[in-house]
Amino acid sequence: MDKVIGIDLGTTNSCVAVVEEGVPVVIPNRGGYKTTPSIVAVTEAGKRLIGHIAKRQAITNSENTVVAAKRLIGRKWNSPQVATSIAMYQYRIVEGPHADVRIQLREKIYSVPEVSAMVLQEMKIIAEDYLGEEVSKAVVTCPAYFNDNQRQATKDAGLIAGLDVIRVINEPTAAALAYGFGKKIDRLVAVYDLGGGTFDISLLEIGAEGVFKVVSTAGDTFLGGEDFDARIIDWMLTDFQTAHNVDLRQDRMAMQRLKDAAEKAKCELSTARQTEINLPFIISTGRNEALHLQCQLTREKLEELTADLVQQTVDICANTMDEAGLDVEDIEDVVLVGGMTRMPKVQERVAELFKREPCKGVHPDEVVALGASIQGAMLVAEKSELMLLDVTPHTLGIMVVGGFFEPLIPKDTTVPTAQTKTFTTVRDNQTAVKILVLQGESEKAEENELLGEFVLTGLRRAPKGEVEIDVTFEINADGIVAVSAKDLETGQEQSITVTASSGLTKDEVKAMAASSHDYMVERRKGESTEKNRQEIESLISEIERHAPQVEEVVKGSEHGSEAMTKAKEVVEQARAALRSDKPDAELQEILDSLRRTLRMFRAVLA
């Protein structure tokens, strides 16, 4: 059976896991790290970089390095979040053809799903290298607050990366799955996830039967580690300005270095009580002399700078419990997820709020990917031991008269679900109604996300208010929304399956998938060529190492010297091949003859 991998496609870091022999394991990347920065860059030479390497070169290439693409995925060009991102990041964010968002890297313009696809593809490769087989199916996680358009965009990213995303599940849900996996416990748990860019809190019920039911989710899409970094940066900037009267904000390179230093300091302060920030030659002044930034940051100072951020997360938690009608006492365990939960102050405040020490058994960086892999294995299993009962993250409804939003399926409803509500016409002889399908929490329709629309026509002519129309919303287990409207009198009915839009058309996604596939083939080919060349080099050097000894042994025989000449020819040929750009197949031939030669040498010496 096909292996299904689980991918935590994070704002800051991504992680991939798979279930092997019933045990979920995280797969390390080539560098041995279990998480890979969700960063994509294109170098001056046009080379695509992903992960740690992309992160490291960001200082010198910030304009062509995409970080936090997840903040843009599935968003409309005119949304406030996009405006914030444009102000925050140095890469070029441009408007796409469907009022969607695109990113320019060097000369080429990419859609956001394409950029995310590059990260997914990297994760796919990591998994394939580890498993030694091709991988085509994945469960990908997304934040609980993602709307259907963002989820669709995530699926599209998978498609572009050559992955069939069999399910998109919520990150906190995945975390809970990994937490409860194999434990056979009945417990109500809170999952507190503070990552690089976002904060998420979810409450889940876990049953010994192997059922995981989401009770409630909430969060803040712009509250995470980056905000902590920003506080440190501001502090450094102010200090520097006071000391030297120079505003570093104008210098992109300096800012990027500050950002790196701030994050590093923040992480260090999770274990150390104090750290030194040392950025020599941060900027050169007009008088041709360089200034250095040097300062000490203590844990107390950091906590003071970020106290309100931590408080915000605590408030959201309290709110969520309130809304779900639960008390702190009802929560039986707390699971910490996300890199930021390593900060001692965060742990302390969470423990304070929930009146208990958070669970120590899970790894905050890996737990989401592990959960995703568990869900993947569980879906394709013949008879699964586990069942995940997820909820709708946002309220679904339609627009009614006055531009108001009329909810049909409230937030946090367990899916699959269906609801019907009856509406009436608002004018005399009204013969048609337009049904706008919306998702969101605002009373005003326009402030919610539009998922689709359709028109019900052929209504009976009657005074206003007399024609009744039943509107039915249905969400199936895959999260697909279907909406139908029906005139109860005439039986006239219209419906749509709401295909959430990632901002890309089907054809675009197809074309992008094809080009990404080509890139992959190229890259794999390049990799194997590189491998062959390296092997040729090492064979040559080994042959040459043995050559004098062999020559000594075969000196006497005519047959031997002939063989010697032959061997020298082979090596020469191989050298020539290395200098030129020979195709893979020819390299393979050369490799074969080199191996033969070496075998012969060894036989002679034996």
Binding site: G210, E323, M387, V400, V455, T472, N476, S495
Partner: protein, 581 residues
């Protein structure tokens, strides 16, 4: 039209089963005789006069004996001649009886109701979608989006001459085809088009059993827990069922017609769990159940259940079967308290809406506003409200069946008509209505239908008259609740008698609740008899109590146009004016 709206599972006889030596109770035999592959569970409830629960239990037994099977959701086609007993549904009436009888389904009055009607998900195999299409004349097409007219401006500028656009034509045509197919539909085994490897026989039977339970059993029985069960037990029961019936249990496999069944079961068990796992909603639900048992004459059943449970769980505190009166009082209190604040205020005055709340003109060409001024409170369903509606139905059901439940094999519509006619001679009007309903469902020829129609009108008139009389009597004894119950019947059977509506409005006013309903009722009375000042007076009072002095003043002004000398109205006008200041 109300009666046309309900739809539910339709059980069918399994062909070629011999009934000769099947051990059936009289009741089960009777039910079996009524199963014709066309009559839904809801309708059966109405015809047999059996409560949802005992019907459900009987159907489960028939199912387990292999005598019947249930198919996909089938809705009676609109083309079927089926004169409604109730010519017009009053605006404040709950939906048709069949619908109300689905007790669990109607439990959350402040939330939108869940129905079986649902569009086929895109991923569903074509066969399943088709089969469902075949169940109703009016149908959507899976790809109707593409067929929808480009021009959405229709609503903004209604064009009187405009024909239905092509999209709908196509739709209609497809619906026609579907209707033809539907005659073949019911004979198709329920498992058709389902990959046999996916489900065992046993699994399919369990699905059908739970589908029935989802439709008829109470939440405790649905989850298979006792009424005293603790939260963990409820959770465990729910989780066990969820694992079994969540469609993900069959991820990636072809489910065909079973998929909507699974979804239906899953939704209902989830709902049951959500109600029973929160102490507040569970308490309300318990009150509701008690009320149901009392009115449905099911005290014994209730007690038997409690007994059984006591034996099973050896609970130290067995449930004490409470007195009927106490339950009624408790729920009445809950009803008053549980009324959502949003509904205590009448919506902005326009014309009365036929059922849902009112709406005001559209601005964007986008419409349809069923909008309370405040969104319904989250998770705070007024089960008492459902309970009250249920009660009315229960009473009706009791009247209809005349307390007699006779197993009758293979009766035809005409037999019921004859029986209805003899019941009419004895002036048992409630029975008459029920028997006629049954007769019409089973089919009558033209002459018989005319006879039935005439008798029905008489019976409805009589029932309305009797109910109104009972209401007046109850009111005179101070039993306002009881009076309201009777007057609701009167309104239902005699919707064109203004007096009934006015009385209803006055009673609601006395109880000081559901003012929007009071307002609708008062308005209805005025519409029927615009010249009667007494009805106007009621209307003005409603507005005043609802805190809408502006409307009250407008209404008073209108009334004074009819008779400027009416003192009472003048006094009310003053009251409105002072309230405005």
């Amino acid at each position: 039209m109300g009666t046309d709206r309900h739809h539910s599972e339709v059980p069918r006889r399994v062909a070629a089963t011999s009934l000769a030596d099947v051990p059936l109770s009289a009741e089960e035999g009777f039910i079996l005789s009524q199963i014709d592959g066309k009559t839904s569970v809801d309708d059966l409830e109405l015809i047999t006069g059996l409560g949802g629960e005992s019907l459900g239990a009987a159907l489960e037994r028939l199912l387990s004996l292999g005598l019947i099977e249930t198919g996909p959701v089938v809705r009676p086609g609109r083309g079927v001649a089926r004169p409604a007993i109730v010519p017009d549904r009053p605006p404040t009436e709950p939906p048709a009886a069949g619908e109300r009888l689905r007790a669990p389904g109607g439990f959350r009055p402040t939330q939108s109701s869940e129905r079986e009607t649902r569009p086929a998900p895109a991923s569903e195999p074509r066969g399943a979608a088709k089969q469902r299409e075949g169940t109703s004349r009016s149908q959507r097409t899976p790809d109707s989006r593409r067929e929808a007219p480009e021009d959405a401006s229709g609503p903004r500028e209604p064009d009187p001459g405009k024909e239905a656009p092509p999209g709908i034509d196509a739709d209609g045509k497809r619906g026609g085809e579907a209707a033809r197919e539907s005659s073949a539909g019911p004979s198709m085994p329920p498992g058709a088009r389902v990959d046999p490897a996916t489900f065992t026989e046993e699994a399919l039977r369990r699905i059908d059993t739970f589908l029935l339970r989802a439709n008829s059993a109470d939440f405790y029985r649905l989850l298979g827990v006792g009424r005293q069960a603790e939260r963990p037990a409820i959770r465990s029961a729910y989780f066990g069922l969820a694992k079994e019936f969540h469609p993900d249990a069959y991820f990636g496999r072809t489910l065909g017609v079973v998929k909507p069944k699974l979804e239906r079961i899953f939704r209902q068990i989830t709902r049951a769990y959500e109600v029973l796992s929160r102490s507040a909603s569970r308490k309300e639900y318990d009150v509701y159940l008690k009320g149901q048992a009392v009115l449905g004459g099911q005290e014994e059943e209730e007690q038997a259940w409690a007994e059984e449970e006591r034996r099973r769980s050896a609970e130290p505190t067995p449930p004490s079967p409470e007195a009927a009166a106490e339950a009624a009082v408790g729920s009445a209190g809950a009803a008053a308290a549980g009324e959502p604040a949003a509904q205590a205020v009448a919506p902005p005055a326009t014309g009365p809406a036929a059922g849902p709340p009112l709406s005001s003109p559209a601005d964007q060409g986008i419409h349809t506003g069923a909008r309370a001024s405040v969104p319904p409170p989250r998770g705070g369903p007024s089960s008492a409200d459902a309970w009250r509606r249920e009660r009315t139905v229960r009473q009706l059901a009791a009247v209809l069946s005349g307390g007699r439940r006779r197993p009758v094999q293979d009766r035809r519509g005409a037999d019921y008509l004859v029986e209805a006619e003899s019941a009419a001679k004895e002036e048992e009007w409630g029975r008459v209505v029920g028997l006629l309903e049954a007769a019409q469902r089973l089919g009558l020829n033209e002459a018989e239908a005319t006879r039935a129609g005439a008798l029905q009108a008489t019976a409805a008139g009589q029932l309305a008259r009797i109910s109104a009389g009972q209401a007046r009597f109850a009111e005179s004894t101070g039993d306002v609740e009881g009076a309201l119950r009777h007057v609701e019947q009167a309104c239902k059977f005699g919707p064109d008698v203004a007096d009934h509506w006015d009385m209803r409005a006055r009673l609601l006013l006395r109880l000081g609740r559901e003012l929007h309903q009071a307002r609708d009722a008062a308005m209805r009375a005025i519409r029927l008899e615009p010249k009667v000042l007494g009805y106007r007076t009621t209307m003005i009072r409603v507005y005043l109590v609802a805190g809408l002095p502006k409307n009250a003043r407008r209404e008073a002004d209108a009334a004074l146009e009819i008779d400027s000398s009416d003192r009472q109205i003048r006094a009310l006008l003053e009251e409105a004016k002072s309230a405005l200041e």
